[in-house]
């Protein structure tokens, strides 16, 4: 065990140094101002929550190369020792291989899915009957707040980044991402954010309990647990932004020769669109939480109405990110579904260009709708109708995608295996979530159902029936490529059908009880809703159990599944043209792209060809030292 070499021992030391620094900074500042007491626990905690994670990342080695370069020390020659996984231990280090990082992302975020899902089970256990049975109201508010925050910031957003991290460079014929070290840092920011949010349960006064929306002034007055969210989001957001920049540069500069934008697989298009959203929008959520932090820690009055603060400003800044965030959580899924449906229906994607343009249309429109979350917030009234129209109009590009997928299915040869079942489940469930979204855009109806279970139903049809179904589809689809083994098809189908049925039983009745008058985020409710709530709770436990089938399938298949061939699905895109799992540097020769990605049924069509070494490439092999630029 060495405290000098990068790794966990040094990371632990980094945490201690960070905490020590927090004490030093806070106590010296307070002493200089003559404040009493000099040691203020809350103040130290808030600084420590920033300093300790940075100490952890520095200790782990995420910054070593840059620090040496910045102070003018000779950089270490790249020996590729930090690139690729040769044993399981390599997954617990700062690793620059996009495939290792992709697996790190996916496994970590699925662990958080398990934790967030457990919180959902506890919430439903409490709600099975009116009155309080298992937890007190404070713990309940903490459970649903952490449930939403963990599943949004540590599951859906990063798991898509993980899937794309693994397959996107392969799909465009690149040896790695554009900035492998930044990529490694992006990943390691995530466990930091996640552990911080979970640690909030240990804070005095309990976990943050103001919902994932953390509306001020409730959040500025809440107990100290709130800060674990406020600062945790900064780390998750920084991770998102860095990854999105990485994807953008990778897609723009590192495509294989011959791969024009309109020869890119739609998953690449989808992540291009998503990354644009992330880069533009995520700084706004960071800002909203910095405002809260400054209000809390330094006595600013951004949201203190009595001192000239503006409570509604929080919501505007927050939703300017958090509505686009809904598309950040959906567009990558659209990409996954396009890949799967084309391959499993054995047909080209219907209307490829419209599929690409509709993604960009959603990106642009997505920035013009945020105030539909605020129809009952007391904001200026005139903005409601314009935002109603822009919101509803997003259904048009989304509809184009749904209808194009349906047309792709038509006259195909449908392989109805697990990825395809989840894709078809997504098509139907996401349509329902989209339709309830249009009804919510209609201002008068929204006034009635805002902050009710109708909203809970809608968001879960979009994020569970939508995003999570695409994630399951994608994980099954690329499982052979990632692990080199086949998953168990029978268990996969069981997983789909149990999840599909129980999911609908859980969330469909919520539309009804919402309109009937049950508000959301309540620990207790009126007797009239008791019947449906019991039904929903029982169904939700089945959803929880069905996920165990998935976990069992993944674990056993990864350990002892049948060996997967390079291209079990007879797919055309480039990731299937290399071995399963791919070589450490992806391609022995860089492919040349000669046609579209989905030319199924076209005799003799190929997407990419591997010419011998005469093909010149401008892309630098991953891990090679950048030439100081």
């Amino acid at each position: 065990m060495s405290f000098r070499a990068p790794g966990f021992p040094r990371a632990g030391l980094g945490i201690l140094v960070g905490v020590g620094l927090a004490y030093a900074i806070v106590c010296s500042v307070r002493a200089l101002y003559g404040w009493d007491p000099v040691v203020d626990g809350d103040a130290v905690l808030q600084v420590a929550l920033i300093a300790a994670p940075l100490g952890f990342l520095i200790g782990l080695g995420a910054f070593d190369y840059w620090f040496r370069w910045a102070i003018g020390a000779p950089t270490l020659p790249e020996d590729h020792s930090g690139h690729g996984a040769r044993s399981w231990k390599d997954y617990f280090r700062v690793n620059t291989d996009h495939k290792v990082i992709g697996v790190q992302y996916m496994v970590t975020s699925f662990v958080f899915l398990g934790i967030g899902g457990m919180f959902a089970m506890l919430v439903r256990a409490e709600l099975a009957q009116p009155g309080m049975q298992f937890v007190d109201p404070n713990a309940f508010n903490g459970l649903f707040s952490v449930h939403a925050s963990v599943l949004i910031f540590l599951f859906i957003i990063p798991v898509f980044a993980g899937i794309a991290n693994y397959v996107l460079p392969l799909m465009i014929g690149a040896p790695d991402m554009a900035f492998p070290r930044l990529n490694a840092l992006s990943f390691w920011l995530l466990p930091v954010a996640g552990v911080m949010m979970l640690l909030s349960f240990l804070a005095p006064g309990g976990a943050f309990a103001t919902g994932w929306t953390a509306y001020a002034p409730l959040s500025t007055e809440a107990p100290i647990g709130q800060v674990f969210f406020t600062i945790g989001v900064q780390f998750a957001g920084a991770s998102s932004i860095a990854t999105a920049l990485n994807f953008l540069v990778t897609i723009v500069t590192m495509r294989a020769p011959g791969m024009s934008f309109f020869r890119m697989p739609l998953l690449v298009w989808a992540n291009f669109a998503t990354s644009l959203l992330v880069v533009i929008a995520t700084p706004f959520v960071a800002a909203s939480q910095f405002f809260v932090l400054l209000d809390r820690a330094l006595g600013f009055n951004f949201f203190n109405a009595a001192k000239g603060g503006d409570v509604l400003m929080y919501q505007h800044v927050f939703w300017f990110y958090s509505h686009p965030a809904v598309y950040i959580m959906m567009l990558p899924g659209f990409g996954i579904i396009s890949e799967i449906i084309a391959v499993k229906a054995r047909k080209p994607i219907f209307g490829y260009r419209m599929m690409a343009f509709s993604l960009l249309a959603i990106v642009v429109l997505g920035f013009t709708v945020w105030a539909h979350h605020m129809f009952v917030s007391g904001m200026q009234e005139w903005i409601r109708v314009p935002m109603m129209i822009t919101t509803a109009v997003i259904a048009v590009p989304t509809g184009i995608k749904i209808f194009s997928w349906l047309a792709t299915l038509w006259r195909g040869v449908l392989h109805l295996d697990t990825p395809m079942l989840f894709a078809l489940g997504f098509l139907t469930m996401f349509t329902l979530g989209g339709i309830s979204g249009v009804t919510l855009a209609m201002v008068p109806f929204d006034i009635h159902v805002s902050d009710t279970y109708y909203i809970v139903a809608h968001i879960h049809y979009v994020l569970f029936g939508g995003s999570l179904f695409t994630i399951f589809a994608g994980v099954y689809y690329w499982f052979p490529k990632i692990t080199g083994r086949m998953y168990d098809e029978r268990l996969g189908r069981w997983h789909f059908w149990t999840t599909f049925v129980a999911f609908n039983c859980t969330f469909a009745p919520m539309h009804l009880i919402g309109i009937e008058g049950m508000p959301r985020r309540v620990a207790d409710y009126a007797e009239t809703f008791a019947g449906w709530n019991l039904f929903i709770s029982i169904a939700s436990f089945v959803v929880g159990l069905s996920t165990l089938i998935f976990v069992y399938n993944m674990v056993t298949s990864w350990r002892a599944g049948v060996r997967a061939p390079a291209n079990p699905w007879r797919a055309m895109t480039l990731e299937w043209q290399v071995s399963s799992p791919p070589p450490i540097f992806n391609f022995d020769t860089i492919p040349t792209v000669v046609g579209g990605p989905y030319e199924y049924g076209v005799p003799g069509a190929v997407h990419g060809v591997f010419k011998d070494a005469e093909v010149k490439t401008t892309a630098t092999p991953a891990g090679a030292a950048p030439a100081g630029d």
Binding site: G351, M442, P444, D451, V602
Partner: protein, 335 residues
Amino acid sequence: MVVAGVIASAIGIVLALAIEWFPTVAATQTKKISTLYDVLLIASVPIFVLVVTVVVAAVIRFRMRPGQEDQDGPPIHGNTRLEVIWTVLPALLILGLCTYSYIVLEDIEKAPAAAQELRIGVHGEQFAWTFTYPEEVTGGEELTTTELVLPVDRSVRFSITTADVIHDFWVPDFAMKLDAVPGLTTHYRVTPTRLGTYPVVCAELCGLGHSVMRSRVRVVEQAEFERWLAEQSTPAVEEGAGPDEQVAAGKQIFASEGCGGCHTLADAGSGGQIGPNLDDVLKGVDEAKIREDIVDPDAQIAAGYGAGIMPSTYGQTLSDSELDALVAYLKEATK
């Protein structure tokens, strides 16, 4: 497939309309919004059925059969006419729905023709609602209550404020809601059309006691409304009432003020967990202390509970005689 789709759509619409979605239609606003929802259902069901029907039909007709393992479908790349249709038709449908929604919105927020509108203040505080009837309504002094009473068939305009965080004033049976925002006074109006008692709910997460921040609204005839207003100015407990009558009146006040939402008290059969268990903390406490706990709850806080959670307005909303009765009851019930 087309026939199956049309039949399924028709069945779907009938089923969707047959469900009792809304609570009672107790205001003109509820009526208009529930009609809008019916129109949305009629427009939505066929679209959902269309997608499901195509998926199911494709699965039935085009699923891979033995011997087709290596076959591909025909290389169809698109069809401009189809793509134009499925862009333009949904756009038209959506613009139609938006136009109708706009009309409904204008309708439900329109001021009544004759300015015979009741103006009532709604004040949210963690975790209780209070309602203020101004002098022009009471004809005498301004009146503050914890129960909302409205005359039927008369438009009422609420002015909504808050003492602390954001709350949201919602009567599900009226189908209207709006946030109470620190620093702002927000407004909306409803016209109750049906006699009865309906729940008042806080719809915006406001902290620990959010789920019990409930009250009720009673919609009554105009004559009864006036009688109720008059009653409010006379004390609820007669001067010089005997101890037993005081305790009985106090028990009623405990129930009507919603104390049990937050506090456990065996005698009242309540099991709230937001605030301290009164059976424990009031045992052997004298009257003066109980009174202080009610009117100035932050003066001394039971161990394990936070400041600023119990409303500090009971000194204003309860009359002296009501307070006396409540204190007498609490003393008696926790003896």
